[in-house]
Symmetry: C2
Subunit: 347 residues, 2 copies
């Protein structure tokens, strides 16, 4: 069954031309006569020829592969990021190598090594927790274009594309304050990540400018997952002075917070305001629809891919650090429902 490989030489023989001509046809060169091109293409189809990229890569020392390594594919934020990357990478004629590190830096080392061995021409990395510049040093020295997404690493010397976490948190908390909230919690996330710190900074700045004290008791970390959100809100509700609103580390945490609230017979959006971060697709269809800071993961993936492609084309490009703007999308979970209900009553 496993038939002989048909090669460019077989095609050449069958079409009565040389292998060089076949090669030219394969890469769509304008040098070859229309008639021969047609003939060669016909033979290619007939013999069921499959191009051997390994051989091509070997000769021209560049592949059409780009690698993307994410720290948690299970989180739909990263899944969406990956489909964004996939979309633009595909249409540029590249193919995507995707690996999931599950936040383990050992695994990350392995997959990056493996990708280099396969000769990827660029890499998009959302680094695992605790990744340091030194971990990436051999990679960047090799001259392979790299763009870091979501999480930046100081001193890595490569391009990065992160969202404006501080500004997003600032806007969200200002919104809550404008609605009259005074005890506002920050829930979820690992405190040792740069993303967490940036978001908390925005949170604190907003409180400060409103003259509210940003006590540490209201910043409660947890795993950045739905389950983490449940535990975080439980902890928050144990406090002497309970918060009335929360900005969550991400949407997954926010959903968990809603779950935890309901478990205590509190209705998110009515009895307690919750704002998420990321704007994953489910945010708009959830009930109540989640107010969140939109970072458009898919769009981010697209932009990261474009940036990488640009660098690949340019050969050697200066690293750029892009911070992607972010906007607050106000939906129901932050208390819009309360106002509406008041209006309904008064009318």
């Amino acid at each position: 069954m496993a038939k002989e490989r048909v090669t460019v030489i077989d095609i050449a023989r069958a079409a009565g031309v040389s292998k060089s001509t076949v090669s030219l046809v394969l890469q769509g060169s304008s040098l070859v006569n229309e008639a021969t091109r047609a003939k060669v293409n016909a033979v290619i189809r007939d013999l069921g020829y499959v191009y051997n990229r390994s051989a091509a890569n070997l000769r021209q020392a560049k592949s059409k592969i780009i690698g993307i390594v994410v720290n948690d594919l299970t989180n739909s934020f990263f899944a969406e990021l990956a489909v964004g990357v996939d979309a633009v990478v595909q249409s540029a004629g590249f193919v995507q190598f995707l690996a999931n590190t599950g936040e383990k830096s050992e695994r990350q080392r392995e997959v990056i090594a493996s990708m280099r061995e396969h000769g990827v021409s660029g890499l998009i990395i959302s680094p695992a927790r605790g990744t340091e510049a030194a971990d990436l040093a051999p990679l960047v020295e090799s001259g392979i274009p790299v763009v870091l997404v979501v999480r930046d690493i100081a001193g890595a010397g490569v391009s990065s594309l992160i969202s404006d976490n501080r500004a997003g948190a600032l806007a969200a908390v200002r919104h809550l304050i404008a609605r009259g909230h005074r005890r506002i919690a920050f829930l979820g996330g690992f405190a040792d990540t740069a993303v967490f710190q940036a978001r908390v900074r925005g949170y604190r700045d907003a409180l400060r400018e409103a003259g509210l004290n940003a006590g540490d008791d209201l910043v409660i970390g947890s795993a950045p997952s739905r389950a983490g959100g449940v535990t975080a809100i439980e902890q928050a509700m144990m406090l002497e002075e309970r918060p009335t609103a929360a900005l969550c580390f991400n949407d997954a945490v926010a959903f968990g917070v809603c779950d935890g609230l309901r478990a205590r017979r509190l209705e998110p959006g009515a009895d307690f305001a919750v704002i998420g971060f990321d704007d994953v697709i489910e945010a708009k269809t959830a009930v109540p629809a989640l107010t969140t800071v939109s970072v458009d993961p898919q769009g981010m993936g697209e932009r990261a891919a474009e940036l990488l492609l640009k660098q690949i084309k340019a050969g050697r490009a200066e690293p750029e650090a892009i911070v992607s703007p972010v906007r607050l999308v106000v939906r129901q979970s932050c208390g819009a429902a309360i106002e509406r209900r008041l209006k309904e009553v008064s009318s």
Copy 2:
């Protein structure tokens, strides 16, 4: 910056051995003396050598790549499936090529072609909607091991691994009937897929064996997403005789149904019983925790990968069709909460 490639020949020169010896070291052959092995390894480290898999693949006509193509990475079921595959594939020393087709068969054709060009040694495919045996024919003729997951394709002549959809639906509906429900809907999913049909078959069989009529008005299709669930339940509640319970096509639909219920001030689990299908990670932490038919996507990914690896190792294996058992996980959303509340009151 972009330094010269260091090759096996450079290593050989620096270590004072031949390239053949270096090659032997690279593949961990026992033929080479311990002392030379150590020396070669040291030089490899010093020079920062990167193995060139393209060259190796070219020579030995087999790669360490397996491809996985999924129809919707945005759906966390498939994301989890992918991480399951990734886990076993990685530890077998393979690397994973992941592509997302977004249900478009054109895209699917492209990515499969691309994977073949890269010389993948096996393929795990969750086919896009509407894929036919003919679409896969050239692939399977080439002798590359293929395993189909989630969705089987009649007459494709390759291995498949699907879950026991009929049995799962049967168990779920029996459970609802045992709880006293008489008007039970089947919500969500595209009616033209084999998975949908199998699940509906189980649903109908359960109703029939209880002597209930399985009227078509209670089977309501929709997109298999959260948003689809919202529209499906809305449609169901328009019926003259409203259902009191629903089996949903998958968990995403089930979550949407819960959302839709809440939008009508109905509490899922208390006022209406809902059962999902798949058991994605969020199912157990949601509120109310989702009763669902557990298919363990990650485990399925692992099993699919193992099956594929087995076939790759065996060279040529008879296609096997595995149907993976499934079990009903009873949590709150199907009405457990009602009973518990009754008990609380009476005690």
